[in-house]
């Protein structure tokens, strides 16, 4: 064992006292870390979050440029082009997206392609036509309509999140924090609002409102926030007896100061994640509004209305519903992944990766 010792090389000055000047007094453990740098680092290290961000950017880009890619408008009808299955140049050679679809009848299923006549002596006039996502019952280009609809749905998503954040969150925070009578009154009020089925409330909106984005916004504002307020309330109930809240109280912090400056930052991450869940709800509320005449006016369509319209052809032309659903799913997935990433990145306590 002593042999390790013999390997030791000592330098001449090794065994001299250094003296006190070299002794560090300031620790530099975190001096190099800047807050934003840290957040960005944490965010970018989270693969899901980055994927979500890319997904959202992609969807936004497509919502901006998508409708002008095909040269067709979202309202242009070509009744002779109705119910065409998706056909994409290039891919069609692989046997997918070649414009053919299967039809099930009581005689069994048949493969048909409306672009190219099976009888080679006849032409359909569609041989050179490509609809990437196919066409709907009125012969409109689903690709263009999908991206136009995406714009509206993104707007609705934004509205839903804002309503959640501005209204539901504040409501829940106040209700949970003050508790007692305030809670009682606020909770009873939301109970009254929520105790009437949404269907009834929304149906009645038709009396007061005219169709359009404002109405959609209001309709979401009326009922969309309650779920969020409940979550916010529950979170506050959990937090409000914590010691740092007591510390604020001893400093004379006003209740609203405590609510918004002390509690809110601690639950914001969770609330963001929650509010992501209200997006699909809002999107389908809009579809329902459209259905009773309060949504966007046809021929304009949102993803929600595209889906609920295409649903009628689900068993006959399933491709019509597939693309709006995929886009919606991508939106939702991206938002959720990003929300998760954001929550983690903004949480200074999260040391782990």
């Amino acid at each position: 064992m002593n042999n390790t010792n013999t390997d030791m090389e000592f330098l001449p000055g090794d065994f001299e006292l250094v003296g006190s000047e070299k002794i560090s007094r300031i620790d530099e453990a975190y001096a190099s870390q800047s807050y934003w740098h840290d957040i960005i680092k944490r965010f970018t290290k989270n693969k899901g979050a980055v994927a979500g961000l890319i997904g959202i950017l992609l969807i936004i880009v497509m919502a901006i440029v998508g409708p002008s890619l095909t040269g067709r408008t979202y309202y242009e009808q070509n009744i002779t082009h109705q119910n065409l299955a998706p056909r994409v140049p290039g891919l069609e050679k692989l046997g997918i997206f070649d414009g053919s679809e299967k039809m099930h009848t009581s005689k069994g299923s048949v493969e048909q392609n409306k672009y190219i006549s099976s009888d080679s002596s006849k032409t359909t006039g569609l041989e050179k036509v490509y609809y990437w996502f196919g066409t709907d019952v009125l012969g409109r280009d689903i690709f263009t309509r999908t991206w136009v609809g995406t714009r509206i749905s993104l707007y609705i998503a934004l509205v839903a999140v804002i309503v959640d954040m501005c209204f539901g969150m504040v409501y829940g925070l106040i209700s949970g924090y003050f508790g007692g009578k305030v809670d009682m009154v606020l909770q009873r009020f939301s109970e009254i609002l929520n105790g009437i089925p949404t269907l009834v409330i929304v149906t009645l909106l038709i009396l007061v409102f005219r169709p359009g984005l404002l109405t959609i916004t209001l309709a979401i504002a009326i009922t969309g926030w309650i779920g969020m307020s409940k979550i916010a309330r529950a979170q506050v109930l959990k937090l409000k007896e914590q010691e740092f809240i007591l510390a604020s109280k001893t400093l004379g912090a006003r209740d609203f100061f405590i609510i918004f400056k002390e509690i809110l930052p601690n639950i914001f991450g969770q609330l963001i994640v929650m509010s992501m869940f209200s997006i699909p709800n809002a999107i389908f509320t809009e579809a329902f509004l459209a259905f009773i005449g309060l949504g966007v006016l046809p021929p304009l369509a949102s993803l929600g209305t595209l889906i609920s319209d295409a649903f009628k052809s689900f068993t006959t032309h399933p491709y019509m519903i597939v693309f709006p659903v995929i886009v919606l799913a991508i939106i939702m997935l991206s938002f959720n992944l990003m929300a998760d990433g954001l929550r983690d990145a903004f949480d200074p306590k999260m040391k782990e990766v």
Partner: protein, 313 residues
Amino acid sequence: MKKYILKRVAISIVTLIVILLVLFLMLQFMPGSPFNDEKLTAAQKAILNKKYGLDKPMFIRFINYIKAMLSGDFGVSYTISKNTPITSLLQTRLPISLRLGGQAILIGTAIGLILGLIAAIKHNTIYDTITTIISVLGVSLPSYVFAMALSYGLGFRLKWFPILYDAKNPFDSSVIPTISLCMFTIATVARFTRTEMLEVLGSDYMLLAESKGINSFRLIFRHALRNALIPIITVLAPLVVGLMTGSLVIEKLFSIPGIGSLLVSAIQSNDYNVVVALTFIYSLMYIGIMLVVDILYGVIDPRIRLVKGDGNE
């Protein structure tokens, strides 16, 4: 606590009455009347309104309604099932919705919890990613798309289950509707379970429990889960109400004679009494479940005190 519950119940009754009053007011403004067939002349409508007492002022109708309701009389249907007492409509339809919704909630919650737990325990693994995707899809796809896909796949192509609901065979025939109904619940519960469990699993008391050497099952279900339950039951409560009172779309798709589809028809045809009765049931359940949830808050997490002065003199 007992006092608190009594007080809450009393307030809930008032809330219910307010809801009914609001509803009466709102129905007043519903376009058309139950008898808004194009073919009816004004005189004919007047006769009908008189017959059903709809010519009286709203407030009188409200008082009469409440009075009748107290004796268990919810009035008769005007259009959906003409002159049928609503109680008899409910008698046959409510249990069906309750059962189906109950099934969906139970199954949905169970699966959601399991998925959420797996995701939290296997944090940052492929299982986690899969549950995230499942739960996001579960909320972003409308239930009718699921329902149709299922009845096409399981019902029509594979013929495993009947497509339509059949009162004589309520078990088999409720499989597909139940699955489609519980997707949303699964997704929501899974997601919230995951988020909360991640926090709970990282806490000190879980370490202590682990150091006691009890098995994972007990660790998760006895120690962790309860601490994660608050947000879960918060999101679950409205889902319970929504499902138990019948899904509008699913009941229509599968021809389920529940109260969800009834509500849609009632609103579409201004069948006031049916709308009011169904809303009453809905509100009753909603308020009841909210009360239960509030009480559960305290039961689940003894630190939560809803009443000031409870434990602090």
